[in-house]
Amino acid sequence: MSLSEETANRIRELVPEAESWDAESAELTLKGDFSTGIFAALRDDPITDLKYLRNLTAFERMDEQGVTLVYHIASLTHNHTVTVFVPLSEDALVVQSLTPVFSAANWQEREVYDMFGVRFEGHPDHRRILLEDTFDFYPLRKNFILDPAVNLRNIKEREDEMLKKILAASEEKAKPAAASSEKSASSSKSDDSKKGEAE
């Protein structure tokens, strides 16, 4: 979907601080310290109308250290998509959260944090989403090596380590819960939550 000239010009006007804007491929590059106002402006302008955050992800750059965030934002009325790149350097993996602008950013940003360790400032619920909180690695970073050969050799140790970690975490979790349920044995809250977990 190529952009109309009017839209391309409008985006140039709305985002003067962009590092680069390629109207041909509809690719916009922003600095890491961009303000969310840019996205709000692109969303609310009737010509650009970029209301639909269809995809948010990241990838590790090949030539240098660092992670680049990718936002695919679309307009459902004008049927065009703009790709926004935000390159981040290794020592500053932090950007503004887009959750106030697009609700859809909420989980997708959490996933990027989970997989790449990029922090999103102002995110309402900044936790890992897919992995356990006890995991101390960011799996999609290239320094986390997943070599089948290595993996098969170390399979036993890795597994033991992982299971031990989970066991320790679950024991830790169980301790305060058990203490509190003793205190308020009649409280329906803890009873219900336990029942639910079992069924």
Partner: protein, 382 residues
């Protein structure tokens, strides 16, 4: 004490009697979460005030594994992400590779792909219909749905050899050509299927209890649906006419005539109607394929080990659950493996809105709302 006074004392007591907010835990092992989803719902009385979903119980690290696999080896892995619509997942990998290799796909291959994908859409929607009704307490629709789903599965088995995870669509085309036997059976199915849907509608759609349970439940407005980036039947059920098969055409879809199913209701009923209508539209497309399947080859000439040029692409298609996107980067020319492959999972994006949709409704309504999203946990967690 007079009786009037007594009553007022009692009334005052009832007013001042406040119950605690209780936490209700669904899952990760619960039949109506359609897999291993865990929902932590807070309810005041029976009304939901907050929901915290906990994901990742089926996180299998597919995206990382794809980075160490060749493109063709990646397809089975992707098949297992959204296991109810694995044809679509295969297609997304094939489409990404085709874009970065500039393989020309023969017209017949694209038509066969559409046939395979629409059959898969019917199978997926049938399973959704059966389990959704089961969630609402009706157990016989499941048996009807599976009676006809087996019909579809037989057809898919004929072309791909598998019942659930097909690994059929490949870069350049499809793995095997369709046989005359398959076309004959497909024709039979397309004639049999519309009366089946009528039967479903008679059985469930007009049922007064069903209508009560799903109308004006889980309402999400058009604007909010767009803001949440919902897609597929969720978006079209909120009155947004956005079907990637029409708006961003791919494969052989421009050659078919069909309508996007759009409903204005914004509630569970609207999503239900959209899916029922989609099954009819899929059947319509299959009919057209029976009549006009072009001659030619079922695949382009593709080397066993496909090599892509350096580049980046984001391809998206309309899966039964919504926008299924594949974001692929290769790091060098003649790349054998992707540098990064991201699957934009429709269930993941749609499930994110569950809290907003269920707030203020009853606990039992939450099950209906969750069912209407049609999540597949393999797709949510990947």
């Amino acid at each position: 004490m007079s009786s009037i006074e007594k009553n007022s004392v009692l009334e005052r007591r009832i007013d001042s009697l406040l119950t605690d907010e209780i936490t209700i835990n669904f899952g990760p092992q619960h039949p109506s979460t359609h897999g291993v989803l865990r929902l932590e719902a807070k309810a005041s009385g029976e009304v939901i005030t907050a929901i915290t979903p906990h994901l990742g119980y089926l996180h299998r690290g597919v995206e990382k594994n794809l980075e160490s696999k060749e493109f063709l080896q990646g397809i089975p892995l992707l098949d297992r992400c959204d296991y109810l619509s694995s044809m679509f997942n295969s297609y997304i990998m094939a489409a990404c590779v085709e874009e970065l290799t500039e393989i020309e796909v023969p017209r017949r291959a694209e038509w066969i792909r559409v046939v395979a994908m629409e059959l898969n859409r019917i199978a997926s929607h049938l399973l959704w219909w059966g389990t959704f009704c089961l969630d609402l307490g009706a157990s016989s629709p499941l048996l009807y749905a599976f009676r006809d789903r087996e019909d579809v599965i037989d057809l898919l088995e004929l072309i791909s050899g598998a019942r659930l995870l097909y690994n059929y669509i490949r870069p350049g085309g499809v793995r095997g050509d369709v046989t005359p036997e398959f076309m004959k059976k497909l024709e039979g199915f397309t004639n049999r299927f519309p009366p089946y849907i009528d039967e479903y509608e008679e059985l469930v759609t007009g049922n007064a209890i069903f209508i009560e349970r799903v109308t004006n439940v889980g309402v999400i407005s058009k604007e909010r649906a767009v803001n949440w980036a919902l897609s597929g039947p969720m978006l079209r059920g909120s009155g947004v006419n956005w079907d990637l098969r029409i708006n961003e055409p791919y494969s052989a879809y421009p050659e078919f005539t069909f309508d996007a199913a759009v409903e204005e209701g914004c509630d569970v009923m609207a999503r239900y109607r959209v899916r029922m209508m989609e099954m009819r539209q899929s059947n319509r497309m299959l009919k057209q394929a029976v009549e006009g399947l072009p001659e030619g080859s079922h695949t382009a000439k593709v080397p066993t080990s496909v090599r892509c040029k350096k580049g980046m692409t984001y391809r998206r298609i309309e899966s039964p659950r919504g926008e299924l996107g594949g974001f692929m980067i290769t790091d060098q020319d003649k790349a054998k493996k992707p540098w990064r492959f991201h699957l934009r999972a429709p269930s993941f994006a749609n499930l994110a809105a569950i809290e907003e949709m269920s707030k203020g409704y009853m606990v039992a309504d939450m099950i209906a709302i969750l069912g209407s999203i049609d999540i597949v946990l393999g797709d949510v967690d990947r």
